[in-house]
């Protein structure tokens, strides 16, 4: 069976292709636990072969060339594994900042949640608390988590409520945003709600 025979490093290439696909389609793919595990198994086999090759070599003699092959394969696989995980972390961090650091918003989305490994969920939680610590170093005047894509042109913005989001403190006092209502509010007060998809900007009004 051809599926049982493969070259060292083939699985690593598959893993990297996933990362590449993820970049090209700009989506987070499901964590490929099975593939990661099989590469780790391959690493263990490689390590065994390496050790046995070295053990077979008589003392004072140069090890056989096979040793180099094993070593290279081990290093390469390891780098592929790390690259895959690192690439995913980059994506997760991008997602995190795209919603203005609203972690519950990411974690409560079942679709996203199903794509994460348990370690990644832990990572996001720790990352969130680290980012919050950093944010706390700035005065309450400046929220560094807010959007940095478009510079503000107007102070106020006209919004439509897409999802109920409860009572929010604004410059004009508290507002209870209910689905379907429209408001003109200060952008800085509600920007995070637009980012998270509770409110929608209404242009040209």
């Amino acid at each position: 069976m051809s599926t049982d025979v493969h070259q060292y490093g083939e699985l690593g290439t598959q893993l990297l292709q996933e990362s590449r696909r993820s970049t090209q389609t700009d989506t987070l793919l499901k964590y490929n636990d099975a593939l990661v595990r099989s590469i780790i198994r391959e690493q263990r086999d490689l390590e065994k072969s390496l050790v046995s090759q070295i053990a077979k070599t008589p003392e004072n003699e140069a090890p056989p060339p096979a040793v180099i092959i094993f070593q290279t394969a081990i290093l390469r696989n390891k780098r592929c594994l790390l690259a895959y995980h690192s690439h995913r972390l980059d994506r997760l961090r991008d997602m995190y900042w795209a919603v203005g650091g609203a972690l519950p918003h990411i974690l409560s989305d079942p679709d996203t949640r199903s794509k994460l490994s348990p370690h990644e969920v832990d990572y996001l939680r720790s990352y969130h608390s680290s980012a919050m610590d950093f944010r706390g170093e700035f005065s309450s005047e400046l929220d560094i988590m807010a959007s940095i894509t478009v510079p503000p042109k107007e102070l106020h913005v006209s919004v439509k409520v897409v999802k109920d989001c409860g009572v929010i403190q604004t410059e004009l006092g508290t507002i209870d945003f209910k689905k379907g209502q429209r408001f003109v509010v200060r952008r800085a007060d509600i920007e995070h709600l637009i980012v998270q998809g509770y409110l929608e900007e209404v242009s040209g009004s």
């Binding site: 990661v36 780790i40 690493q43 263990r44 390590e47 290279t72 081990i74 290093l75 390469r76 390891k78 780098r79 594994l81 790390l82 995980h85 690192s86 972390l89 961090r93 900042w97 490994s117 370690h119 990644e120 832990d122 990572y123 720790s126 990352y127 680290s130 610590d133 950093f134 170093e137 700035f138 005065s139 005047e141 400046l142 929220d143 560094i144 807010a146 940095i148 510079p151 503000p152 107007e154 102070l155 952008r187 800085a188």
Partner: protein, 233 residues
């Protein structure tokens, strides 16, 4: 050489606080205003591959100023004797405050992005750490730990013992394990004054007069940017 020092002084000098309703940045001044200075550092930071020295004094003076402006706005808005005309001006000031905040935010976040990207490099290099503020340093080490832990839990701890390290000596044909800034990245550099000649990578001398724009490696003009003789555009 004495003009280096002058330039450096200009970097750290604070502008006197302006009256509450005067917009932050609209007053034309011969000297660079704090806002212009911030914009220059922001642009430099956005274009430079490396993390540049933190501008803590400048940033805190601008944040202070923003706070004073916001307080003044609050007071004036609450005051019933404020005229319509003044209300209009208040709106302008508020918008201006938001726009300055945007720049500060973008500046801080650009630095944060680099800190995350080079976290391991930063924690291993005391020289780079001097460019960071205390909270940025803390963030860098937290971030490096966080990533190491994730790699360790997800991958490394399942590998055979000899393969579990994050700092392997790699053969010459593999990229190093640690991400470091690429100082050979090309940048557009704009000379703010006549600059002393720089040596290009091929060994030739290149002199930039005031207003001149060149495209070159970041490492070539790094010192000019640091001294404020040139800016990245």
């Amino acid at each position: 050489m004495s003009n280096w020092d002058d330039e450096w002084d200009a970097d750290v000098r604070m502008a006197p606080p302006q009256p509450a309703l005067a917009a932050l940045d609209l007053i034309p001044q011969k000297e660079e205003t704090p806002l212009e200075l911030l914009i220059r550092h922001w642009m430099n930071e956005r274009h430079a591959p490396e993390i540049l020295p933190a501008q803590e004094a400048l940033l805190s003076s601008i944040l202070d100023h923003l706070r004073r402006q916001s307080e003044a706005v609050q007071t004036l808005r609450g005051d019933p004797s404020t005229s319509d005309d003044e209300h209009l001006r208040i709106t302008l000031v508020q918008l201006d405050v938001e726009r300055v905040k945007f720049i500060v935010r973008s500046y801080v976040r650009t630095r944060l992005y680099k800190i995350e990207k080079y976290a391991r490099y930063i924690t291993s290099s005391p020289a780079i750490q001097t460019c960071l503020t205390a909270s940025e340093r803390d963030y860098a080490s937290r971030h490096a730990d966080l990533n190491d832990r994730h790699f360790s839990f997800s991958v490394l701890q399942s590998l055979p013992e000899p393969q579990r390290h994050l700092d392997d000596e790699v053969p010459y044909y593999m990229p190093p394990m640690m991400t470091t800034p690429d100082t050979t990245r090309p940048v557009f550099v704009h000379a703010l004054k006549d600059c002393p000649p720089v040596i290009l990578p091929d060994g030739t001398r290149h002199e930039m007069t005031k207003g001149h724009i060149s495209l070159t490696h970041f490492s070539v003009v790094e010192h000019l940017v640091a001294r404020g003789e040139a800016e990245l555009v």
